[in-house]
Symmetry: D2
Subunit: 154 residues, 4 copies
């Protein structure tokens, strides 16, 4: 995907850090129900990196994805503006094949990405290959804070 002209493209250094952090975070995934492990990384506009993984639950509906967990973690540290979020996922203990698809965020995570400004979304595979897109492209015509909050709170 072509990068948006209004924001600075991700640098090689930023991309390397996002890919490394995402794949490293995936190792902590708690996924005994699906055996599908996911990692995510979130880079703030001032260069801080947050990471997380999925955390499942016996009541499946209370499971959380890696992407949302990373956003919640950063928000808990006072962060509100982001350069990029990245994610990678795969069935545990399977051999990567070059034909494997890029794991994309679920709709819930795309929605949570729209709550805060995030310039880029990077899809990562276990072999460190990646694709660059944006949250906005992944959830067109999104329902956002301005649909429910009064202007004074935006």
């Amino acid at each position: 995907a072509k990068q948006d002209s209004k924001v600075a493209p991700l640098t090689k250094t930023e991309l390397d850090a996002l890919v490394d952090t995402t794949l490293e975070a995936k190792k902590n995934a708690y996924c005994p129900y699906s055996d599908f492990e996911v990692g995510a990384a979130l880079l703030t506009t001032d260069g801080k990196m947050y990471f997380s993984c999925n955390c499942e639950n016996a009541s499946y509906g209370l499971s959380i994805c890696a992407e949302r967990s990373a956003i919640f973690k950063a928000v808990s540290c006072g962060e509100r503006k982001f350069r990029a979020i990245s994610c990678a996922g795969n069935k545990r203990d399977t051999q990567f094949k070059s034909s494997d698809p890029f794991t994309t965020p679920c709709g819930a995570c795309r929605q949570v990405m729209m709550e805060f400004p995030i310039d880029w979304l990077v899809l990562v595979r276990p072999d460190r290959s990646y694709k660059i897109t944006t949250p906005k492209k992944m959830i067109p015509f999104a329902f956002t804070p301005k649909d429910v909050l009064p202007p004074s709170k935006l």
Copy 2:
């Protein structure tokens, strides 16, 4: 949006029924926290209509949207294949203005729409105006059952 060529376009009769049902369902919305009332309608491939509304909770995260609620209701009745889903939403007790935007489904609802085949998505406004699109267009490159289920279960 142009309708997809592979599936039959929605008829005037179907659209009228979806719009009517959506706006009627909205009246039952339980939304004391947001005062944002939403209605949804879901038409099965064999012509049955299901409706629902949003149902909020003191623990905000346990609130459900109208669109997902309609899908869950239909699934509980054994339905698995759908022609169309529609939704409408607005702040309670506000006067409709022709400049008001169409309320679009949140990302969680878009994700749940991808769990089952649904040909069309109809966005409705309180004045009965509507726009036709598809779930697929609203959540491109979606994470879907085939990403996690073995082929034998698809």
Copy 3:
């Protein structure tokens, strides 16, 4: 559990209807991820019965339980006051043993049960055996609407 003295105990007719509806609803469960099928029934104060089942999702966190789905369905029909909710669950295609535990609602469902008045909670097993308790006993010191809503909205 002893039945609460303030509300009328469930009659044999009500209990039979709850048990039958719960076990019948379970047949429509959509649970390709967990293979754990759950059914629920919800009886209104004026004698109407609603039923539902769990509906899972490729993004596990977007799965819904049978109990919550039944409540959302009834609310969409304008219902707000309930006599009883019941649920039953089991791993698909397993033989029932008399030592099997009663499936209890998850915490999210217990929370949603507290949003509306529901007198009784009935736990059901596949052999039609049951236990009677109350939502309140299953989530003591609950966080409820009065903790967040202004008195005028209660």
Copy 4:
């Protein structure tokens, strides 16, 4: 509440740290929809402290509570065993009164607390007063991993 005899009671030092961390974490709450700010702290069995706050969403159902967010954060760092979790909440910009109730965790958070061993639950108020209980007491007869996972995965 009397402390459980099987596990060591919380020390004054531990309680002080939990209370301080909880109230400090509350300051980062992102709650433009409810204006109800919540903080949580989570102490691991080997003495590490994690904190978080609630993070709401335009789609109310995608909001997360402070308690769950703290657990997800700790899990993402590889933690799986906990001494205690604590939480505090209040409507933003209101004066604390000694008659104010202790904010208790919602059902979803209680459920997520049961996914991992957590000895104690500490309810905190803005004036640093607290009550000690346990997750188990707050969600009796819980639905837990052993209800769905095969013994080999427990």
